[in-house]
């Protein structure tokens, strides 16, 4: 069964049956603790409600599919890395879409609920799309730091814990990521 088959009633409260709660107790605890940060990260990367919901569900389904319960630190790291990878995969699919569709306004239309002029909105969305593409081109270790630090709003200490690196290293990686991002954006605009 894929997640496309799972129906989602609009206003039904979250009900968890007893056996599922027992089997995935750690997962629900993780969802409560880290769910907002993961959702924030996905929302900032994807900016589209449907995509965010899909990616969020995918993250936890992947965790639920693990053979044995991981340690909490491993689970956190796995969750954020999975979320980042899924978001990047979405960006790649969008890139393919953009090649042919042309209209990218509808993809990010509900990001902030702002009503911009069509030209301004188009420029902004183009800039954001190019930023996403540049993030996709970053090396994985830099990208993960950038996403967990800036897009999910974690502190350097938490970033270091989640990614298993030193706090100072995380800081250096992030700076390097920003500089590389600027270079990539410049190259993109030049080309």
């Amino acid at each position: 069964m894929t997640m496309a088959n799972v129906s989602m009633p609009a206003d039904e409260p979250v009900r968890r049956n007893a056996s599922a709660v027992t089997a995935h107790r750690w997962l629900y605890a993780l969802m409560e603790a880290e769910g907002p940060a993961v959702l924030r990260m996905l929302w900032r990367i994807l900016g589209n409600e449907a995509d965010v919901l899909d990616a969020y569900q995918d993250c936890f389904c992947k965790l639920a599919g693990m053979d044995k319960k991981p340690k909490i630190r491993q689970a956190r790291a796995y969750l954020f890395r999975t979320a980042a990878n899924i978001a990047i995969e979405f960006i790649r699919v969008r890139k393919r879409q953009k090649k042919h569709a042309g209209a990218i306004l509808d993809v990010h239309a509900d990001r902030n609920g702002e009503s911009l002029m069509p030209q301004e909105a188009l420029e902004r969305e183009r800039a954001i799309a190019s930023l996403h593409e540049a993030i996709d081109q970053l090396p994985a270790h830099l990208r993960n730091v950038l996403l967990v630090r800036d897009f999910s709003g974690k502190s350097y200490k938490e970033v270091a814990e989640i990614l298993g690196i030193d706090k100072a290293t995380a800081r250096v990686y992030r700076r390097t990521a920003i500089v590389k991002l600027a270079n990539l954006l410049q190259e993109g605009s030049a080309s």
Binding site: M8, L27, R44, Y56, H100, L131, I178
Partner: protein
């Protein structure tokens, strides 16, 4: 920093990395702090660093714009509910390539494997094991090729098979029953070439001096004991060969005298 002179060739500014490092800090992105006076002073003098810093600040602004977006609580509740239901239903993570969201043209350009897998998701297991399948196919091809090579080389003909059989069953004459001279005329016809091997005694056969003395008058090529079926096969082989030769000669318009001096009848008549 007041003694800092402008660089004639700004493309090689040694302080560029330092400047960008200072500007790429989090606080400068969030606008919580301004660049230090040293950085500002350098930027005022170095055009390359100024241009690079402008690009970096533009990136920072864009990043800050993206980061400012915050999801609503309703979205979080929806996401939690949906993920919970999916976990309870035992849903597996889906592929990110959603057919309904990708236009037809894009689907065609997304690579043959993706497009095929999107259309036929049931063969995904086959695609995931493609390396094993490729290795099996190569192995099967190698086996098939070697079998083909074996067939192509050809099977040994009937004469070779018979020779091997005779080699495996070498029989010597018993001492009290030496071969008669009548047997001898048949053997010269088959002694030439590879048929000599028939007469090679087996290593396991004991040498009997008495028997050997009685067989001294018989040539080494005539010591083989004639086994009936072997003799039959030899005769049939010779008949086949002679028939084939005759047909060949007839075809080439050469006449064959059936009462040639080499025929057995003529030979026995000459002996008499």
């Amino acid at each position: 920093m007041n003694d800092e002179a402008p660089y004639p060739d700004n493309s090689h500014c040694p302080r560029r990395a330092w400047v960008l490092d200072q500007l790429a800090d989090d606080e400068s992105i969030k606008g919580q702090c301004r660049p230090s006076s040293a950085v500002q002073l350098h930027l005022a003098r170095c055009e390359t660093c100024r241009m690079a810093s402008e690009e970096l600040l533009a990136t920072n602004e864009l990043l800050a714009d993206v980061i400012a977006a915050t999801p609503s609580d309703a979205l979080l509740r929806d996401a939690d509910r949906r993920a919970t239901q999916a976990i309870q239903a035992g849903a597996k993570p889906s592929r990110r390539i959603d057919l309904s969201r990708i236009p037809e043209e894009s689907r065609r350009d997304s690579g043959p494997a993706d497009s095929i897998l999107v259309r036929y998701p049931e063969i995904r297991w086959l695609y995931e094991r493609r390396q094993i399948i490729a290795a099996s196919v190569v192995l099967m091809a190698l086996v098939g090729f070697s079998a083909l090579l074996h067939v192509w080389k050809g099977e040994p003909n009937i004469a070779e098979i018979e020779l091997k059989r005779v080699d495996r069953h070498p029989v010597t004459w018993p001492a009290d029953n030496p071969p008669s001279k009548k047997v001898a005329p048949a053997t010269p016809q088959i002694t030439g070439g590879r048929f000599v091997a028939n007469s090679r005694p087996a290593k396991s056969v004991r040498r009997d001096p008495v028997r050997d003395a009685s067989l001294e008058h018989v040539g080494s090529s005539q010591r083989a004991f004639p086994i009936p079926e072997i003799e039959e096969s030899k005769t049939s082989l010779l008949k086949t060969m002679s028939n084939g030769l005759r047909e060949f000669l007839i075809d080439t318009r050469l006449t064959v005298d059936s009462t040639s001096p080499n025929s057995p009848e003529e030979r026995s008549r000459n002996e008499e």
